[in-house]
Amino acid sequence: MNQLKKQLDHALSSLHTDGELAGRVQKLAGRQHRSRNSFRKLAIAACLVLVCSAVICASAMGGFQVFQTAPEAGEVSRYQATFQPETVTLSPEAEERLEAMVQAGQRKTYYDSLAEVEELLGISLPQSNLLALRPDKHITSYDDDGNRLPGGFWLYIGGGKEFEGYQIIVSAQWDYCYTPGEGESLPDCLVDNMRLISYADGSSQFGYPVSVRTHTELYTYPEPEERTTSFSYLDENLDEADDIRAEMRDIRISEYVAPSSGLSATLAENGGCNAFFAQDGLYTTLYVDAPDGIDSRMIMESILDSIR
């Protein structure tokens, strides 16, 4: 036995599991099993109530619902689970236009400007939220072939007639999503200059070390002054920033959300999640998309924890 183990065992020799641990575990497991069955029954009942309510509401409202993808104040990254839906009823003319798009298979459409989306929907969308999703209209966008694109917005039409209506999601276009393949590592060029940035609102991102001035120019939401004072480079406080980068080079993307962790097991049961880096010309940001009901922020933190 190695010396360290001996020392630690000696120091902690008063710590023992009690003799009833196994029995307690068996009892708890039995209780969990029973409550899971009860929960299942309760969940089925709740689902029935929800479906009935949804049918009644949808019949009463008819048509489309617009879900504004609004992040919480100050958030930069996209945390889908925190979006607060805002219901707007569309005019019959707008519904006809959307219905025609659905019939034509155009459920996901890209628009260069928000005005085009608004014209199609016949409503005004609160721009501040969309600008928050897309921090800066000047950021250069690229298509899959590396060609420059103007920034724009996506319109998603979800749902279907079986739900007596559609859901519409308007979201800002993320310029370029870098999604490494299975087992692929991050390219050196992305890692070399990356910094771990933490915002006062709790969000974090990896980004290039841009100056505060550049940040001020970039963020239009919240106010630039507020944003510039509310972020810090985490690695400035670490004497091992190089170590972090070295480890990041060693990490394979598929390992970020590893199948054997408890969190991932939960995610898998709920349909899995997607963690990916996106590069928008200036930033390389880790985005996390998770199924409804899963806290994306928690996943983000878990991923960051595993890298720190």
């Binding site: 190695n2 360290l4 120091a11 902690l12 023992h16 060693d250 990490i251 924890d305």
Partner: protein, 176 residues
């Protein structure tokens, strides 16, 4: 204790649980304590660990040892405890209640290990305390083996620095 596999008939999960608690209970409890710096939380964590293992026993494929499997669960349980906001608020109580047998002597090593940041502490604990090979540590922590070796090396350097001049110093020799 052998891991149960599809090939080896095993008496059943109740018997397995009894044996696993007897064989690995204490070391897992101490591991959890070293992770969490709190004996009460460590007791909860080790109970959660065995509960999770017991409930998912049927799904354990036996592709690693029971010790590795339990250690992996314990690490995940401890990490989720550490992530909870409540835990963050109370983390300042570090080691105040540490159950040293002999604080004058052994508290130094314990203090040095627990003062390492989590990522260094866990590789030290898994390698030296749980005596797992780097390959298995890599599986548990979802890292590559080279990342584990690098972390281990940096963690040793930090421990050496902290334990400089102390008799324990020479035991932190690289054994990989």
């Amino acid at each position: 204790m052998e891991p149960h596999t599809g090939k080896i008939p095993y008496p059943g999960k109740d018997t397995w649980l009894q044996e696993a608690v007897a064989e690995h209970g204490d070391s897992l409890l101490r591991l959890c304590f070293l992770y969490l710096n709190d004996s009460h939380l460590a007791e909860d964590a080790v109970q959660d660990t065995f509960l999770k293992a017991y409930c998912s026993w049927d799904r354990f494929r036996g592709d690693c040892s029971a010790k590795t499997w339990l250690t992996r669960i314990a690490c995940n349980v401890c990490k989720s405890y550490l992530r909870s906001p409540w835990r963050r608020l109370t983390s300042s109580e570090l080691l105040e209640d540490a159950p040293y047998e002999d604080p004058g002597q052994d508290g130094t090593v314990l203090q040095a290990v627990t003062s390492l940041s989590q990522k260094y502490r866990e590789v030290i604990l898994l390698y030296y305390y749980q005596e797992l090979p780097c390959r298995e540590i890599a599986q548990i922590l979802h890292l590559t083996e080279s990342a584990v070796t690098a972390r281990l090396s940096r963690a040793r350097a930090k421990l050496r620095e902290q334990l400089k001049g102390w008799y324990f110093d020479e035991s932190i020799e690289e054994t990989t």
